[in-house]
């Protein structure tokens, strides 16, 4: 009981805090000036919101297409993995959608889950449609990156997960958020929900979404050109990064754990171009996995010869090497567009690719008061000027921070407060 009162007190404080930041972003103390460094390093511990160390974050799986027969090389991908953290009492429920190539249990989703669980929400955490497990288990076509079709896949997943929870928990309202591509997805899912009406989302928050998907992936693709010596040195760069890390490894007691590369990159004191190359590289490694998985699922013949069966013991080294050399833009031009071409006979390549954008649903976003945006002025996935789209479309429903790069400030106390406030401010419970 006292806990609940404490919680409510916290919420009010958080809400006030958020209201304050919205008015005066000049007091914003996120410390990293450089947009690339911010993106890689994130939020230093002393600026982070205080979140519970652990929450009852349970890993779950569900079969979305029980009849689906998977190609043998992705035999392990039939179950969609997700996670949930449930309150004991009646509470609002929030769906979280991860960013490009990220999973339901990735660091960002987990941190958001902690924040929302602490604020009293049931949390259901979903992988991005671009996460290989989602591609094999939950994507209808296997060829992802399509705004409407990804939204339909997500919606189906949400409905089926909700069906498993319906008789177990009391839910006072449904809510939706996501960061990066997950924020973009959230906009399209919200729009789909207006037609389907299963959830009637009370509030929706988009965190650091792209405007045009193609613009953003082009920017990320180009970052890899910062690799010293160019893209041809991709493998060399990855290897150098690891060897450069050796120096630090000798002195520190840390093992090669999850945060090791990140920590190392901090200590390595990388120059701007190298940071950009690092971001491009990590994007490339996850997009390589996605593209290969899509190719296997659709048997398109993009990297793997069409029709060639690969068994579970197949040597994939050569496919990994080829996939690592290809940008996401290559995927859009040589796989995605040809794959969907027949469905959209009246659009040419450029029209089709550029239609994968929030601009396509501007009217909906503009008119829908339940949708809010958190973004950064210096986000590296936006073309110059694209940030104005959010100001113009969302007006005072957009909170734009002066710094933070791409999601680098997502754990900053002001950001976490604003994130929670987006769902609690002015809501009676």
């Amino acid at each position: 009981m006292t806990y609940r009162i404490y919680l409510r007190g916290m919420l009010i404080v958080l809400a006030l805090f958020a209201a304050g930041t919205r008015a005066s972003s000049e007091n914003y103390d996120y410390p990293i000036e450089d947009r690339y460094a911010a993106t890689v390093v994130g939020t230093p511990a002393e600026y982070q919101a205080v979140l519970p160390k652990t929450i009852p974050f349970q890993k779950r799986w569900i079969k979305i297409f029980p009849e689906r027969e998977l190609p043998e090389v992705v035999w392990y991908g039939g179950r969609l993995l997700y996670s949930q953290a449930l309150q004991k009492n009646s509470a609002p429920l929030i769906f979280l959608i991860a960013g490009t190539g990220a999973s339901h249990k990735g660091a960002k989703n987990y941190d958001m889950a902690r924040a929302f669980y602490q604020a009293g929400f049931h949390v259901v955490s979903l992988s991005s449609p671009t996460y290989p497990n989602f591609v094999t288990a939950a994507s209808k076509t296997g060829v992802v990156g399509h705004a409407e079709k990804d939204a339909e896949d997500l919606y189906r997943v949400m409905e089926m997960i909700w069906a498993t929870l319906d008789d177990k928990i009391d839910v006072s309202s449904f809510n939706l958020t996501g960061y990066s591509l997950g924020g973009f997805n959230a906009g399209y899912v919200a729009k789909l929900d207006e037609e389907r009406g299963v959830f009637n989302f009370a509030r929706v928050l988009m965190i650091n979404p792209p405007v045009s998907l193609y613009n953003s992936i082009s920017l990320l693709d180009r970052m890899i050109e910062n690799i010293p010596g160019g893209v041809d040195n991709f493998d060399r760069f990855v290897d150098d990064l690891m060897v450069g890390v050796a120096e630090i490894y000798k002195e520190s007691a840390d093992d090669l754990g999850e945060d090791f590369l990140l920590k190392a990159s901090e200590t390595l004191d990388l120059k701007n171009e190298e940071l950009a190359a690092l971001i491009g590289t990590s994007f490339r490694i996850s997009s390589a996995s996605l593209v290969f998985t899509s190719d296997v699922m659709a048997d398109f013949g993009y990297i793997k010869p069409r029709g060639l069966p690969l068994d579970r013991h197949a040597d994939l080294t050569i496919y990994a090497e080829v996939a690592n050399r290809l940008g996401f833009t290559d995927y859009y031009h040589k796989f995605f567009y040809p794959y969907y071409r027949d469905e959209y006979p009246d659009q040419d390549r450029d029209e089709f690719i550029s239609s994968i954008s929030l601009r396509k649903i501007t009217d909906y976003l503009q008119g829908s008061s339940k949708i809010q945006v958190l973004h950064n002025e210096d986000d590296i996935i936006l073309e110059p000027g694209e940030i104005d789209f959010f100001r113009e479309t969302f007006g005072d429903r957009a909170t734009i921070y002066p710094r933070g790069g791409h999601c680098g400030n997502i754990n900053h106390r002001d950001n976490v407060a604003a994130m929670v406030a987006a769902f609690t401010e002015g809501v009676t419970r």
Binding site: V74, Y76, G77, L81, G101, A102, S103, K105, S127, Y131, P132, N133, D235, R236, V238, D239, M242, V245, A246, Y249, K250, A253, L256, G257, E258, I285, S286, A288, S289, L290, F292, T293, V296, G301, Y302, I303, K304, P305, R306, G307, L308, R312, H313, A314, D315, L316, T317, I318, Y319, A320, E321, V322, A323, R325, L326, D330, K334, F335
Partner: protein
């Protein structure tokens, strides 16, 4: 368990290695029957290109099969046991178990520090073993870490590496996971040292229990879960990460 286990282990290894060499070179021949993909290595790489991230893996057909076996063993045996272990033993008890085994692992480091002629690591690990075995009550409490005695980790694979022995072919070991020929061979003296120390310290029946708990503790301390890391190239990724880690371990 000591000697007979090691013998069985080695024999299995040699047999598996021999068996595997006959099952290669098939996929290449097959590929020609299918239309060329949009992007091929020939289109992207110069003819004599060698990828720096490549790991020498001539036993790939055998390795992927053992990798697969390990996955199933993990799902059917290891992880259920771990879940039970976590449900039955509270955190402080699990930490006690972990400390207990680390004490024996420190003894392995002592042994290898001598072979690597490293007095610093030798005194650190010896200091740890002495402190934890006495004040730490048979190693159950990690007093040495509280006293800020560093914990180097050296195994016989690293000792061989220290003296210039290369990793050799990549090797996935049944139950244990990624390794290489050098480190696989290195397991034998390490296991011998560990079982010798345990033999001195523990009575016969207890040693069997200890062997099982050691396995459970090791799995419990390993965060890795098969096919949950979002890579379509998990085997290749683990292979690269592991062999890089082992190179770095030797520099350390």
């Amino acid at each position: 368990m000591g000697r007979s286990f090691i013998l069985t282990f080695l024999t299995t290894l040699v047999l598996l290695a021999g068996f595997s060499s006959s099952t290669q070179a098939q996929p290449q021949a097959q590929q020609d029957q299918y239309p060329e993909a949009v992007f091929t290595p020939g289109r992207l790489f110069p003819p004599d290109y060698v990828t720096p991230t490549d790991v020498y893996d001539p036993w790939q057909p055998m390795n992927t099969r053992i990798y697969n076996f390990n996955y199933h063993f993990d799902q059917k045996v290891f992880l259920p046991v771990i879940r039970g272990y976590e449900a039955v033993l509270p955190q402080f008890a699990r930490t006690g178990v972990h400390n207990f085994f680390n004490n024996f692992r420190d003894a392995v480091t002592m042994f290898n520090s001598v072979l690597q002629v490293s007095p610093t690591k030798f005194f650190q690990s010896t200091g740890r073993v002495l402190t934890n075995s006495t004040i730490g009550v048979f190693g159950l409490f990690d007093v040495a870490t509280i006293m800020e005695i560093p914990r180097p980790e050296e195994d016989f694979g690293q000792t061989l590496g220290y003296w210039g022995v290369p990793q050799g072919p990549y090797l996935v070991i049944p139950f244990l996971g990624p390794s290489n020929l050098r480190d696989g061979v290195g397991l034998v003296p390490d296991l011998y040292v560990q079982s010798f120390v345990q033999g001195e310290a523990l009575e016969r029946t207890l040693r069997k229990v200890v062997f099982l708990f050691n396995a459970v503790d090791t799995r419990n301390e390993t965060a890795f879960r098969y096919y949950e890391n979002g890579s379509a190239f998990e085997y290749e990724m683990v292979r690269y990460m592991w062999s890089t880690k082992r190179d770095l371990d030797i520099l350390k």
